[in-house]
């Protein structure tokens, strides 16, 4: 187990370094950084001074090392647009996105796991077919469209929910519903297929033959095993939701990290874009390590695989 953990962490570290190089190159490719930092009305001396202070006259490799060293110390740079510290901006918006990701994931799981189990108990039943049809539709619907339709229904027609902003818990209801609908197909299929597999296995037949109550067999024996893949995919999906909620955050003007990144892209505020790419990627890598270790703990055979 120890060697496995070290190998996984080593791989994760290598990926993080590679991602940081990409994030670094992304900003380097946008043009002369000294001019971008100084603004249009900076004098030639000011630009030259910025170039010296930030080491922009050094070789790219030296610049990368300097930048990476600053990042490790928590200095992600300054926003071109607002001159604010980028780390502060990210720390302000990350909680909003995290709340959204957690609530939508919880909502999605609370609906899709019971639905998946009910489908698996009687595959081919009317309920099963309706759920599957919904998941096929769900996979084909753009999430921002779902968001806009919800705004039309709850915000414009019924006027029961706020259509934008982060003021109250109610502001999170529609965004969370949108993203829950987005993850529903994945988890429905995963829990349904897992349950169908498990229910046809020998130990379930044994449990039934022993005369255990139906509920005990379903929940204690079957669901506990069928849910393993759901847990690991949910961990990874959480990472996706942290980075992938740009569209939904922009539809609902939710001040999360997605909206921060999107407005930064529109303003060509690249230090912010770079930092968001880096932070989201690192969180994703860490979540993957957690998922891998979780899986290995549950199924030690995985440790011997390449």
């Amino acid at each position: 187990m120890g060697a496995y953990i070290i190998r996984k962490l080593g791989e994760a570290l290598a990926v993080c370094v590679a991602v940081s190089v990409i994030a670094f190159v992304l900003v380097q490719s946008t043009g002369d950084l000294a001019v971008a930092m100084g603004g249009l009305d900076a004098s030639a001396e000011e630009t030259a001074r910025l170039r010296e202070v930030y080491g922009l006259d050094q070789s790219l490799f030296q610049q990368y090392l300097g930048w990476a060293w600053r990042v490790l110390q928590g200095d992600l740079g300054t926003s071109y647009f607002s001159q604010e510290d980028v780390l502060t901006l990210i720390m302000e918006s990350l909680p909003v996105t995290a709340v959204l990701a957690v609530s939508s994931l919880t909502l999605g799981l609370l609906i899709s796991i019971p639905a998946g189990v009910l489908c698996a108990i009687k595959p081919g039943s009317r309920f099963d077919r309706v759920c599957l049809a919904l998941s096929v539709l769900g996979q084909a619907m753009p999430s921002y469209w779902v968001g806009l339709l919800l705004i039309l229904l709850f915000g414009v027609t019924l006027q029961v929910l706020p259509i934008s902003g982060t003021q109250s818990a109610a502001s999170f209801v529609m965004p969370a519903m949108t993203l829950a609908w987005f993850v529903f197909p994945v988890f429905l299929r995963l829990s349904r297929a897992g349950m169908i597999d498990v229910l046809s296995s020998d130990y379930i037949r044994t449990a039934r033959a022993k005369g255990l109550p139906r509920r005990t067999v379903l929940v204690k024996h079957a669901l506990r095993n069928a849910i393993l893949p759901v847990v690991s995919v949910a961990t990874v999906q959480f990472g996706f939701l942290l980075g992938g909620s740009i569209v939904v955050e922009s539809v609902f003007s939710l001040n999360g990290i997605g909206l921060l990144a999107w407005s930064a892209i529109q303003r060509a505020d690249y230090p912010v874009v770079q930092a968001v790419v880096l932070v989201v990627a690192i969180i994703f890598v860490l979540l993957n390590v957690v998922a891998d270790l979780l899986n290995a703990a549950l199924d030690p055979r995985l440790m011997s695989e390449q």
Partner: protein, 295 residues
């Protein structure tokens, strides 16, 4: 040449959750009919569209569709510039199909190459490819795509390339596994013993046997690329105005959400139908190849 179907899991990361269910023959047929319809509309757009999709008319702004009090002059109404919505929708089919096909094809080229290299050669090649796949998966693709489009400028070609660069991973992951299995077969060993070069083995022994996987992932990724392209347009950094891209049409319709909700409803519905059609076809193909896996 020996063509065999391989009963492999389609995706290591979760073989089941991507599989479209109800994939009986009905779904397959429905998908083919729908997709054929979309292709015909795209090809014959100039003959079908009742108006010029670009011509504006300030007098005819924001007309409702015919079922909501509009006239047959503009069956689906008009947008904020008075352009005929049906005509824009018809021409938009072209953009969606071209971008979806182009991006999926390029992604296929990248992913298949990497997957075949990793699967056939194994060892160090496999480790390098695995590393590249990990990096690709760690990067937030939509965010990166938006940033690249902002830096490099938006155009159909840039959108296609950006989408391909962010959608090749599934090809690589699945083909690596598939190629590894095929490469261990006796007929590959035999071909090698007979002195066939690696390139020849890949071309005549391996690729034909993993072709079905490529086709299936292609349809799935094409659907994903159509959705992603629409999202990029919706966020304002994909296909640019005045092109009738469906995502852009929704983005433009957002300003008139309350006055004319049909603008976003119809364009979103079109995206959903096209993605549904592609997914149904992909699922039907998968059933043909791997009948046992049908749920």
């Amino acid at each position: 040449m020996s063509v065999r179907t391989t009963n492999l899991p389609l995706d290591q990361r979760g073989p089941r959750f991507l599989r479209l269910p109800f994939a009986g023959k009905f779904g397959f047929r429905l998908g083919i009919v729908m997709l054929t319809g979309f292709v015909l509309v795209a090809v014959f757009a100039p003959y079908i569209a009742p108006h010029d999709p670009y011509s504006q008319s300030l007098l005819a702004r924001l007309k409702p569709p015919v079922w909501a009090g509009g006239t047959w002059e503009h069956p689906l109404g008009t947008d904020g510039f008075g352009r005929d919505y049906l005509s824009r929708l018809i021409y938009g089919t072209r953009i969606s199909l071209i971008v979806g096909l182009g991006a999926a094809a390029l992604a296929m080229l990248i992913g298949t190459t990497l997957g075949v290299i990793a699967g056939v050669f194994g060892g160090a090649a496999n480790r390098i490819v695995s590393f590249i796949i990990s990096i690709r998966l760690a990067l937030p693709s939509l965010l990166l795509a938006l940033a690249i489009l902002q830096i490099a400028g938006s155009g159909v070609m840039v959108v296609v390339v950006v989408l391909a660069v962010t959608h090749w991973d599934r090809f690589a992951v699945v083909l690596r596994t598939a190629c590894r299995q095929v490469a261990g077969q006796d007929y590959v060993t035999r071909a090698r013993a007979m002195g066939a070069s690696e390139a020849r083995i890949v071309r005549t022994e391996i690729l034909p046997n993993v072709l079905s996987h490529i086709v299936i992932i292609f349809t799935f990724e094409m659907a994903q690329c159509i959705l992603a392209a629409a999202a990029l347009s919706f966020l304002g950094l994909g296909i640019q105005a005045p092109e009738p891209s469906w995502g852009l049409m929704m983005s433009e319709g957002r300003a008139f959400l309350v006055i004319n909700p049909w603008l976003i409803t119809i364009a979103g519905f079109a995206i959903m139908l096209l993605v549904l059609a592609v997914n149904l076809v992909g699922d039907g193909l998968r059933d043909l190849v791997v009948p046992k896996e049908r749920s």
